[in-house]
């Protein structure tokens, strides 16, 4: 369930709750039905303190949870256009306008420079709240630029995927973003810079078949739905019900498709640790001291 709905159900008059505000209220967890004080939820990276449900996050909240301080934002200047004059039940420009009003960004991606526990990084965060995080030309272009700029600056790239797949309204142009992003990421490989993707609920379709799964290290959030074909399409094809937990992060770990599942509350320290190792950066002084004093005390007690 989207977090905005979680808030709205408790207090419909706070509609819509601006993504960065944290209203002083409580809500019921959709999974365990426990009452959760929303301030506690926010303080705990929007993970339910009683059952561990990882709520879906919009891109701004995700950036807050992931980075030390506000991003130096790069995205926002590239805007989508209706190249195909796509019209189904409503026109593509109408859909875009609605999503833009809802999220305050031109398309389903936030990129910029920031740091994770002191490690300088470039981040690219998909915004599921914008049209289901679908990948069109703007998402592709911003990810490509973020990768190329990270390579120029000698910084690693951390990408948070959250997407229902390609953006149908851009048809083949959307499809081509799979190639564009994959090729742009070569700039990081060429310079020996790490690229880490964090797959969140849900990551499906074209995103799974391009940039999200060619990362050096693939991290998944607990319980996230991750796959190429959607469960409904598969069910229609094979005409039998799908096994429990199919296409969930734990299923993918078991099948060797992701490197690790990391609880969101642990992601900052785990990502920073990994990046420091891959980038030959020293352990921060404070942590090194803590570790050595721990080692010393371990020596005393046999």
């Amino acid at each position: 369930m989207a977090l905005d709905k979680f808030f709205r159900r408790r207090r419909p008059q706070v509609n819509p709750v601006a993504e960065t505000e944290t209203p002083d209220l409580w809500g019921k967890c959709p999974q365990c039905k426990e009452n959760v004080y929303l301030r506690d939820l926010a303080a705990g990276a929007y993970v339910c303190p009683s059952c561990g449900l990882h709520h879906r996050l919009g891109a701004s909240r995700r950036a807050e949870v992931l980075c030390d301080s506000p991003l130096e934002q790069w995205s926002g200047r590239v805007h989508p256009v209706d190249a195909l004059k796509f019209h189904d039940t409503e026109s593509y420009p109408e859909r875009l306008k609605r999503a833009q009003l809802k999220t305050g960004r031109p398309d389903a991606i936030l990129t910029g420079r920031g740091s994770i526990e002191g490690v300088d990084v470039v981040v690219a965060i998909m915004d599921f709240e914008f049209s289901g995080g679908s990948m069109g030309s703007v998402v592709g272009e911003e990810i490509a630029r973020a990768a190329e700029r990270a390579a120029q600056m000698g910084l690693p790239l951390v990408l948070v995927a959250a997407s229902g797949g390609a953006r149908m309204q851009e048809s083949a142009l959307s499809l081509m973003q799979m190639a564009k992003t994959t090729i742009a990421l070569e700039a990081l490989s060429a310079r020996g810079l790490p690229y880490i993707s964090v797959l969140t609920d849900p990551t499906t379709g074209g995103v799974t078949a391009s940039f999200a799964t060619i990362a050096d290290v693939i991290v998944a959030e607990p319980g996230a739905l991750i796959g190429f074909a959607g469960p409904r399409v598969i069910q229609q094809t094979i005409r039998q019900s799908l096994p429990e937990g199919f296409q969930r992060a734990e299923f993918l770990l078991e099948h060797g498709m992701v490197d690790m599942i990391v609880d969101r509350r642990q992601q900052r320290s785990d990502l920073a640790k990994l990046l420091r190792l891959l980038m030959h950066q020293p352990v921060p002084v404070a942590q090194a001291q803590a570790a050595s004093s721990q080692a010393a005390s371990t020596q005393v007690a046999p």
């Binding site: 590239v78 805007h79 149908m168 090729i183």
Partner: protein, 317 residues
């Protein structure tokens, strides 16, 4: 959209059937029916010239029974095709096949999406929809292409990667992404042609060409018309409307800059004259291979990257 007076593919087929009947009668009875036949033949030629197909009619032509599959073209355009099997990890996918061959005399590495020709063959090949092993075999063949400096010729014809339970277990998305990545890294020229259906990532996986060509009645899109219709209208029967909206035909793709060239088909579709369709495909692919042949490995690599880097539509403030 169709206007009531415009001849459709159906009109042509009806007329063709009528002519065939008369020809049959003439043959079996020994009568001379030329007086009746020649105006009909002239009319057919005239209509063929006028026919402008709707997007949905082209999708139907791309799928029509008897439409040449990749192997029909390979039989006519190559010699010494040596099919190589298996991904060395799990199995051998029959929807995506390949190996070295001589393309009108030029040594190349073929990557072919093969739909199957009769019912049994179609089932064995899952109607051209690959499991991850297909893409992993393609990656292996691309390794060989690089090692032995063989240009890659890819013939694309799939409704999409196979959406199955086991495909997901074995990393369908991962395999496609890796195939895209591997193809973008090739230090040999790559020429791709969409010969029938170009469905989504499953098609793009072998579509990273220095040149991407498309047959006149083929389609290429991020989703099939049926898939789009079931998402938009919850009704796959609205596929004709979805086909219009998706702008998935060869002329649409040329306009978007996604393909370099449209390969003309015999009037009424490639299935009506497979030899002629093959000749046109062979000529176009050979011409692009020869043009690219004058470049260096760095140019093939950077040219391909630049080609895909610029695709997309957006404005900047």
């Amino acid at each position: 959209m169709s206007s009531p007076t415009r001849p459709t593919a159906e009109t042509l087929r009806t007329l063709e059937a009528h002519i065939r009947d008369l020809e049959g009668t003439a043959l079996s009875s020994g009568q001379n029916l030329d007086a009746a036949l020649s105006p009909l033949r002239e009319q057919l030629e005239r209509l063929r010239g006028q026919v402008s197909l709707s997007r949905w009619e082209r999708v139907q032509l791309a799928r029509i029974a008897g439409r040449p599959t990749a192997l029909e073209y390979v039989e006519r355009l190559t010699s010494e095709f040596v099919e190589l099997h298996g991904d060395r990890t799990f199995g051998d996918d029959q929807a995506l096949i390949g190996g070295p061959a001589r393309w009108q005399g030029r040594p190349v590495m073929l990557l072919l999406q093969q739909k199957g020709r009769d019912t049994k063959d179609k089932i064995r090949r899952r109607f051209g929809s690959s499991n991850p092993e297909g893409y992993r075999k393609a990656i292996r063949l691309m390794d060989l292409a690089d090692k032995f400096r063989l240009p890659v010729v890819a013939l694309i014809d799939t409704q999409g990667a196979y959406p199955g339970l086991e495909a997901e277990e074995r990393g369908q998305g991962w395999a496609i992404a890796q195939s895209i990545q591997r193809m973008s890294r090739l230090r040999v020229p790559t020429v791709c042609a969409v010969i029938g259906e170009g469905g989504s990532g499953g098609a793009l996986a072998i579509g990273i060409g220095n040149r991407v060509l498309i047959m006149e009645n083929a389609w290429y899109s991020v989703i099939s018309p049926e898939g789009a219709a079931s998402i938009i209208w919850k009704d796959s029967a609205k596929a004709p409307e979805a086909a219009e909206a998706l702008k998935l035909t060869a002329p649409d793709l040329l306009e978007m800059g996604i393909v370099e060239e449209i390969i003309p088909e015999p009037t009424g579709g490639a299935h009506l004259d497979i030899d002629a369709a093959a000749a046109a495909l062979g000529e176009a692919v050979s011409r692009h291979l020869d043009e690219l042949g004058t470049q260096s490995p760095d140019e093939w690599l950077s040219g391909r990257a630049a080609r895909f880097r610029k695709l997309g539509a957006f404005t900047e403030s």
